[in-house]
């Protein structure tokens, strides 16, 4: 006992130093964590958006976004499954044999999708019916297994949960955007049928943006989804190009003239 106490009491300055170091280390760790969360948010919402950049899960993305309500229903379901599966995969990552990790991930995702499907069947039956086969098909959504494989299986639970949240949000935002474009162009409304998702009170949410004599069927049919999606991706790339072009102007290099002498 005395041996352990003696060095601490002998030099007080060392203790304060080590405490300072600990605080600094803690602070840097905190800052690093913050930076990591920020990076995760940026990656999920913009730079590596599952809908716009990775182009994963295109099948439900294009198929069910004919109205905002459908898009919101699928977006929320995917978000929930993504967060839960990321957390679970991350929690069991030390005990999963590497060779059979993909089947295990798929089973985990399938379990959560089944939960979500049963919940929606019980509480939002209308949206359950209008989503149809695309609700159980979330199991095969590559965005979810992609995050489980690429991030959650290698990182701690908190970060994985945040990553799932951000990726899910990024996906849901694209779904909503596409749904809004197609619903406005197709039938001139917004939030049509929101009562199917949120209950009776939500029928007041329905907005009549413009009065159309006839539906613009192309926007409602899948080809319209492809065209709108292409335009969204082009818009994202244009914004990125614009930003990078601005950065180049800021750090314009000084061009040196190099004299080349051919006579020598």
């Amino acid at each position: 006992m005395s041996n352990e106490i003696a060095p601490q009491s002998s030099n007080d300055t060392d203790v304060t130093d080590s405490l300072d170091e600990q605080a600094i280390a803690l602070a840097t760790a905190k800052a690093e964590l913050k930076a990591e969360y920020k990076e995760l948010a940026i990656q999920g919402l913009w730079k590596n958006n599952p809908g716009l950049v990775q182009l994963l899960g295109l099948c439900p993305l294009l198929a069910v976004t004919s109205t905002v309500t459908n898009a919101l229903g699928l977006g929320l379901a995917t978000l929930l499954v993504l967060v839960c599966s990321n957390v679970t995969v991350s929690a069991i990552r030390h005990w999963v044999p590497k060779e059979i990790r993909i089947p295990i991930f798929v089973l985990i995702i399938a379990a959560f999708v089944t939960c979500v499907q049963l919940l929606m069947n019980a509480f939002t039956y209308g949206i359950y019916q209008s989503l149809g086969i695309f609700l159980p098909l979330i199991v095969t959504n590559c965005a979810i297994i992609g995050r489980a494989e690429a991030y959650a299986s290698k990182n701690p639970i908190k970060q994985s949960a945040f990553d799932g949240l951000m990726m899910g949000l990024g996906f849901a935002i694209i779904l909503l955007l596409l749904g809004a474009i197609r619903e406005i162009l197709g039938q001139g409304t917004l939030f049509d049928g929101a009562n199917l998702l949120f209950g009776e009170w939500a029928s007041v949410l329905r907005i009549e943006v413009m009065q159309l004599d006839s539906q613009f069927l192309l926007a409602i049919l899948p080809p319209g989804a492809f065209i709108a999606m292409g335009i969204l991706i082009a818009l994202k790339n244009a914004i990125d190009n614009h930003i990078s072009a601005k950065k180049v102007v800021d750090t314009e290099k000084v061009i040196e003239r190099v004299r080349v002498n051919f006579d020598s």
């Binding site: 006839s214 613009f216 069927l217 192309l218 926007a219 049919l221 065209i227």
Partner: protein
């Protein structure tokens, strides 16, 4: 003295895109005039609307893409696309039909793929099909020939109908389309399809006034006009003869087989040639140098395929006329056909790569 050395070809015919496009536009004149004579001003108004929209769209996209505007805007290709859309539309369709169709054709089908020469699909037909799929109600508002219409469809009446949906006297489009007997009149192809579905024979169907004395009142002369323009284009060597000839032959053979097997339930060969958009498709759309096949053998195959598809869609499909769909399907298969019909290079053996 230095000799100027150049590789072949040494003989150029100096045809530029604007000249070719202008020639094709002139060649549609007989058909358009026949359309005006039998169906009134509707299509001419739509052609004007479509052309104005096409120029505005082309200008906007070209300036966004930072392309030489004066050079590409007036090469006539956009005007030709607009002209073809205007010809295809039902005469009394609302004005926004031609505007939306032309915008889609120019902006999405043509310019987003890289402009003239890079579009995999014929812009006019893609625009038309988009309209047909999106607005089935408006796109079937076919107007009967003027001789069968009770309302006097002069220029101002047609213009107000297209802009507001009602004539100056207040007749709606539905009232214009209704005959004296109170039956809505459709195109001959449409009538035939409906009647065959109801179990009537072809001979009973062609008693309907829209069929006229020969094959299809008005339509036969429009098709004859486009045939005339097409022959003029072949003599001017603006289009290859293989595509239209094989297309018409294929359609003839298909309809001949079914007509000789059961004349009660299938229309005659000449009815298929001279109704709907047969001649327009054969000479003006299928021969598009950008979206069609390039080798002679390939052109023949594309023509045969298109004829078969038109016949199948007309008889077994859900739409009365199938020229637009058939042409889009042929556009899709043209690169593959080109791949397998490469002509033998001079000096090489057959099959020698």
């Amino acid at each position: 003295m230095a000799f100027w050395i150049a590789s072949s070809p040494h003989n150029h015919n100096h045809t530029k895109t604007p000249n070719l496009m202008r020639l094709v536009i002139y060649a549609t004149l007989p058909g358009v005039l026949a359309q005006w004579y039998f169906f009134g001003w509707g299509n001419l108004i739509h052609i004007g609307l479509a052309m104005a929209t096409a120029l505005v769209c082309e200008f906007t996209v070209l300036s966004l893409r930072k392309k030489p505007i004066s050079h590409e805007l007036f090469d006539g290709s956009a005007l030709l696309t607009a002209l073809l859309i205007g010809i295809c539309l039902p005469a009394l369709a609302p004005w926004w039909i031609s505007v939306i169709g032309t915008m889609f054709a120019i902006v999405i089908v043509k310019q987003l793929y890289g402009g003239l020469g890079h579009n995999p699909f014929n812009p006019a037909m893609a625009g038309y099909v988009m309209l047909l799929v999106s607005f089935p109600l408006q796109m079937t508002l076919w107007q009967p020939p003027l001789t069968l219409v009770a309302v006097d469809l002069n220029f101002s009446n047609t213009l107000t109908t297209i802009l507001t949906g009602f004539t100056v006297e207040g007749y709606s489009v539905e009232q214009i389309r209704t005959s004296i007997d109170g039956i809505t009149m459709a195109t001959p192809l449409d009538t035939l399809k409906t009647n065959t579905g109801l179990g009537l024979t072809v001979f009973e169907s062609i008693e309907n006034p829209v069929f006229g004395n020969n094959f299809a009142l008005g339509w036969e002369w429009i098709n004859a006009g486009f045939l005339l323009g097409g022959i003029f284009l072949i003599f001017k060597k603006a289009i290859a003869w293989q595509t239209p000839v094989s297309f018409l032959l294929s359609l003839f053979i298909c309809s001949f087989i079914s007509y000789s097997l059961s004349p009660d339930s299938s229309a005659s060969t000449m009815f298929h040639w001279f109704s709907g958009a047969t001649m327009l498709g054969a000479f003006f759309i299928l021969t598009d140098p950008v979206t069609g096949a390039t080798s002679n053998k390939g052109r023949i195959i594309v023509g045969l395929l298109a004829g078969l598809l038109v016949y199948l869609i007309r008889t077994a499909g859900g739409y009365p006329d199938g020229v637009a769909f058939a042409i889009l399907l042929c556009n899709m298969s043209a690169p593959l056909i080109d791949q397998y019909t490469r002509p033998r290079t001079y000096g090489h053996l057959k099959g020698d790569k």
